[in-house]
């Protein structure tokens, strides 16, 4: 099967140094894939602090597009391609999103094959992270 395509488009609007409005189209990246997995990873109420969750990107060993949003209600600690959180990579606040890669091809070396996060406090209400992962093009 020929590669499927995910079309990722992004744009940015902000205020410049002289109060001018700057509107930037960051363009569209066509991300090829054979494997995809999209969903919610639930973080149930009562989940203890420091619980590690691997984002279930399943059979995707080399991501071309990976979007991740934190809807847990708390800040989480993220790590990319590192299982032991040493050193930590960085925190992602509640409500934040990240695009860990949106590429027209897979990285030849050190592709993203694993993303994990740790909740920093006990989970007080039901929460989740949402994710869109595409990769493994031929």
């Amino acid at each position: 099967v020929s590669n499927l395509q995910a079309h990722f488009t992004s744009s940015l609007v902000y205020t410049g140094p002289s109060d001018e409005e700057i509107s930037v189209s960051l363009g569209t990246v066509v991300c090829p894939y054979q494997a995809s997995t999209c969903g919610h990873l639930d973080v149930p109420i009562g989940t203890p602090a420091n619980t590690v969750n691997d984002v279930p990107i399943l059979g995707t060993t080399a991501a071309t597009l990976l979007i991740f949003s934190n809807h847990t209600g708390q800040e989480i600690l993220m790590t990319i391609n590192g299982a032991d959180f040493t050193p930590p990579i960085y925190d992602l606040p509640d409500g934040a999103s990240c695009v860990l890669i949106a590429g027209p091809s897979v990285a030849a070396v050190n592709p993203i094959s694993q993303v994990s996060f740790k909740n920093l406090a006990d989970q007080l209400t039901a929460g989740h992270v949402s994710y869109y992962c595409f990769g493994d093009p031929v």
Binding site: F8, Y14, S36, Y132
Partner: protein, 139 residues
């Protein structure tokens, strides 16, 4: 002075498991900032393999949004929050790729993105550049 806002919009169109077209429209994040740094890092023709570039954060210490685009023509290596020379690799970014490690309505309370190092993977052929847009230090 009240915070300014950088508004990021993302949209996605892809093919679902049954061949259906799935459209994710306008995932939007508003990131407040008092400080921003936007620009390009040039990677001149002939830049040697494994040259390391340190992204300049200027006065920024609490990033709420960061957008990086690889326009070098070659794959680059990313290292995050490694101030020393160990250059612990996070991942590689192919040419033409976009990387948005954080787009948040506030800076993290804990570990912020405070440094990014980028390394070339081959000798640079032709002029290339890395685009960056950083926002943060919201009050």
């Amino acid at each position: 002075m009240s915070n300014m806002l950088a508004q990021l919009k993302l949209s996605l169109v892809y093919e679902g498991p049954s061949g259906e077209t799935i459209v994710l429209k306008d995932l939007s994040v508003n990131s407040p900032y008092q400080a921003c740094v936007n620009g390009t890092i040039d990677v001149p023709n002939g830049t040697l393999n494994t040259a390391v570039v340190h992204l300049d954060f200027g006065s920024l210490s609490n990033v709420t949004m960061m957008v990086i685009q690889n326009r070098t023509g070659q794959e680059i290596v990313i290292s995050i929050n490694q101030e020393d020379e160990s250059f612990t690799v996070s991942h590689n970014l192919p040419d033409g790729a976009v990387w948005i490690p954080i787009a948040a309505s506030g800076a993290p309370v804990g570990t912020n993105v405070t440094s990014v190092q980028i390394k070339t993977t081959g000798t640079q052929v032709g002029a290339g550049l890395i685009s960056y847009r950083l926002f943060g230090d919201a009050t």
